[in-house]
Amino acid sequence: MTSRFDIRRVLPSVIAPIAAVLLAAGICSLILISSGKNPSVAFGAMFDRAFVGEASPATLTNIINKSTGYYLSAIAVAIGFRMGLFNIGVDGQYRLAAVLAGGLGASSMVAWMPGPLQILTVIIVAMVVGGIWAGIAALLKVYRGVSEVISTIMLNFVSGSILAYLLTTDRLGVIAPGGQLITSRPLPADTHMPNFTHLTGTSNRIVGFTLIAAALGFAYWFLLGRTRFGFDLRASGLNASAAVASGVNAKRMIVMTMVISGGVAGLVGLPDLMGHDYVVYTTIGGLGFTGIAVALLGRNHPVGIAFAALLWAFLDESRFALDLQDIPKETIVIMQGVTVLVVVVAYELAARISRRQQQRIVGQATGETQATPAPVGGA
């Protein structure tokens, strides 16, 4: 009980996600069978495409690149989650950040700087924009009592409109070569983030932003686990009134957490912008909501989120494998939805089981023969 790594405490939280993913795979198998498809063919094709077949290097590269954006988005969401704040607005924050930072990067304002400084400027501007946009929701919550769930959703819509306003040929947009698509102005080579060399068998490169995402994951772990701010943040999330009673400034915590979350959110669009596409498309969006799902799957833990982001990207990429097997690729979205729902239920059950175990341990330690069983109803 005194040991930090009590196996009985840790075990349910490790088994839960694995069991949940297996259960989700089982449910998806049933869905596939009920529509007359063979699940083993489907799962086999998905595995082969990513790890064995000819397409494997390209698929793996895509998986890692996609998961980079998912990871950043999920970290942004998780920072809020740990304090009991729901930043549903990551989507709006990163879209606005990408357009404005991309516009700046392509403009003459930064052209005089040496290359690395340009890259740094774009990154910082993106973080500042994301932070400010999230800050609006924080200020509304702190000073006017507006729920951040609603204000961030509203701000998502507003940022979509600003995006539509900015991405026109009169302002930040240009017509993409060879089409009618409107994009932001392409970034000059100086602001391209260096990428890794490509794997054998594909010309796609793993984006350099992966390293920044990994560093950010470490910073997240350090901030929450090893600093006073992180302790205050987690304390506020676990029991807000107890935290206030022990001297935490609740308003300041809300604003800082939300701004940091928004700052990280500002980075979400950059792996594509600076490492891959070099432009912002008008269709940008959606990663914020994926981030919520990935943060839930990864249980707000930096390593867990990494696995979750990779799993999500793997499922995303698998749609091509299913298409080749004549299985509707829409199955993937079902798999993702089922996985999230089953996983969150599994976590809740695991938490309940480990709570009951702890009660039993406490009961034994205090000499009572029988601990009071935790209430289980309705299940």
Binding site: L296, V333, V345
Partner: protein, 423 residues
């Protein structure tokens, strides 16, 4: 808050029946005065700016179509949150409803579509109830998962159904048959009145004609659901029990209410209403199912519910506001919305005066500053870019929430986990 909205009012707060009735009458009178004043300012703005579309029959007809799905989603949110479950999965349930409405309409006829749409949403609600009530999953978390699942399910189901129909595909259904539409006989003659552009009279003519001609049967049902919800939730023992689960489930439990059952009912009905809103979108709004058709209306419904202080009347007003700006924008009304800017200026100035008189200096000055900015904006431009027109309802909601959120009161136990017999 008056005593009537708290379920178990302590004796000290319990108002006498007489004062309660007079309080309600006073509120009704104030509402009517506010509506009348708003109408006056509105027609004045129309005359000044010459933006005739502000009160045209077309704009108000379109408003009704745009407001109904939002209002249904909001009603869904109301049923769920009154039973104590936050439902951010409304969007997903609505998506299920759009698919269900279209598929049902093709398979069983138009009324079949209405029923299947509501049932599809209710299935989403059942899942949400299972996760939140039985498994105690965080309500927001479950809602997000339901929305992801709803998106996937609609797409998956379409790949089996619409994809194999002529004129259909994975992302859209074939054209759907129409529900019957009604017009109040005689109202069409108001058209002549509207074209005179008289102050106030033509405005009233346009509004009445817009609201009473060519109205879909489902619109009528949706509008009737607002008073029906009020009656069931606030005037029946069933409603009292359901609301008590949202206010104080332990107290409800001690009085013998089966809290789990009522929460389940609240959330399933919530899903059904959201599904109905989705079915309206595919069957009446555009007579075709299209992927991504809901475009966040589930979330907007949630906003209207908060805007309306967790009450059906305020919710309907919020839905009308969203529907109206939506309608102006759909009708390409950058002129009209420019006129609306003047209306907002006047309204904000009125709020500022009211707040300053009441001694609320900070809010009053803030409103005054925003009003001045809006006035400058109105004076220096002739049209608004369409994206700003689109953003208008969301900004208005944010402003309203910022100004009024201190007076909003959500159900006391909304979003909190509940275990039977727990401590």
């Amino acid at each position: 808050m008056s005593g009537e909205s708290t379920v178990v009012a302590p004796p000290a707060q319990r108002a006498s029946v007489a004062s309660l009735v007079s309080g309600r009458r006073a509120r009704l009178a104030w509402t009517l005065i506010a509506v009348a004043a708003g109408l006056l300012v509105f027609s004045a703005v129309r005359v000044i700016t010459g933006a005739q579309d502000l009160t045209s029959a077309g704009a108000f007809g379109a408003m009704l179509t745009a407001a109904v799905p939002i209002g249904l989603a909001g009603l869904g949110g109301l049923w769920s949150e009154r039973s104590g479950v936050v439902n951010i999965g409304l969007e997903g349930m609505m998506i299920l409803g759009t698919w269900g409405g279209a598929w049902g309409a093709i398979t069983f006829g138009v009324w079949g579509g209405v029923i299947v749409g509501a049932l599809a949403g209710a299935v989403g609600g059942l899942l949400h109830a299972l996760a939140t009530v039985t498994f105690n999953v965080d309500h927001i978390v479950s809602g997000v998962a339901i929305t992801i699942l709803g998106t996937g399910a609609a797409r998956y189901l379409s790949s089996f159904t619409f994809a194999k129909m002529p004129g259909g595909g994975v992302t859209q259904s074939p054209y759907l048959a129409q529900l019957p539409r009604f017009s109040l006989p005689g109202v069409d003659h108001l058209d002549g009145l509207e074209r005179r552009h008289w102050f106030l009279i033509s405005d009233l003519g346009g509004i009445v004609r817009g609201l009473l001609t060519n109205v879909s049967a489902l619109t009528v049902i949706a509008i009737l659901l607002v008073p029906a919800t009020y009656y069931v939730l606030w005037r029946t023992p069933f409603g009292l029990r359901l609301r008590s689960c949202g206010e104080n489930p332990r107290a409800a439990e001690s009085l013998g209410v089966n809290v789990y059952l009522y929460k389940y009912l609240g959330v399933v009905i919530s899903g059904g209403l959201a599904g109905l809103g989705g079915a309206f979108l595919s069957m009446v709004g555009s007579s075709i199912y299209r992927e991504g058709q809901t475009a966040g209306r589930g979330y907007i419904g949630l906003a209207t519910m908060i805007f309306g202080n967790w009450r059906p009347g305020g919710l309907a007003a919020g839905a009308a506001l969203f529907g109206y700006t939506d309608a102006l924008q759909l009708r390409g009304g950058s002129d009209s919305v420019h006129g609306l800017l003047l209306f907002i200026t006047i309204a904000l100035a009125a709020i500022a005066v009211y707040q300053l008189v009441r001694g609320n200096r900070a809010v009053g000055i803030a409103s005054l500053v925003i009003a001045a900015l809006a006035a400058i904006w109105f004076g220096t431009t002739r049209q608004l870019p369409i994206p700003f027109v689109q953003a208008m309802p969301y900004v208005v909601t944010l402003v309203v929430l910022a100004l009024a959120s201190q007076r909003l009161r959500m159900p006391a136990a909304d979003g909190q986990p509940y275990r039977k017999g727990g401590d």
